[in-house]
Amino acid sequence: MNTTILAFGIVRELFNGASKKMELPEGATVAALKNRLESDYPEIKKLRSYMVAVNNEYADDSLVFRAQDEIAVIPPVSGG
């Protein structure tokens, strides 16, 4: 499954861009994506925490990606 992972803030800087194309196996979960990200970008493990958002909602680790999902990596927010 071809996906485009959106990135913001410090993750955008780690990605060196606002998004990253990534090939994920069919049936891949959020947890699998996190493993992949942490292996490709070990700096991610140093964050206080981070979330994955799917279609503009925070997603659980167990969520299975579907085609057309909008996927984003959300480092610790700091609005206000």
Binding site: G9, R12, E13, E57, P75, S78, G79, G80
Partner: protein, 138 residues
């Protein structure tokens, strides 16, 4: 009434009352977040805000709805600025209107506290000798 907005334009005090003091709500509780000139004794040159617009607006709307449901506010406004901000610039304005001031204060407090936890907006502080994404690391 719910009014959420993310903008690169200046936020001003006018956002605190515009369209809200219509005689329906006796009390408006407002939080105004402005850029501080110092963090832990270090001079701040500027703040760089970015956001995930579609999701941020969705989360801001959720917060406004929850503040109305849980606290009994009647009007909620959440305006957030993004882009490059300098000390003294207003980054966020939260307004809660209610016939009763207790409800307005609770709703306003809830909204700014929750915004800081859930809304995908990020800021980088830029100092004379470096920069830092706020809250990124423990």
């Amino acid at each position: 009434m719910i009014d959420v907005k993310i903008t690169e334009e200046l936020l001003s005090a006018a956002s605190c009352t515009e369209g809200l003091t219509d005689g329906a709500c006796g009390g408006l509780a407002v939080f105004i977040g402005a850029v501080r000139s110092e963090t832990k004794g270090k001079k701040v040159l500027r703040l760089e805000y970015e956001c995930y617009p579609s999701m941020a607006l969705k989360e801001m709307k959720k917060i406004a709805e929850a503040a109305i449901q849980a606290c009994g506010a009647k009007q909620m406004r959440i305006h957030h600025r993004t882009g490059i901000l300098y000390p003294g610039d207003i980054a966020v304005v939260v307004v809660a209107g209610s016939p009763h001031r207790e409800a307005a204060f609770e709703a306003c407090r809830y909204a700014i506290d929750t915004l800081k936890k859930t809304v995908p907006i990020w800021k980088k502080e830029v100092f004379e000798d470096g920069e830092e994404w706020i809250s990124a690391h423990a």
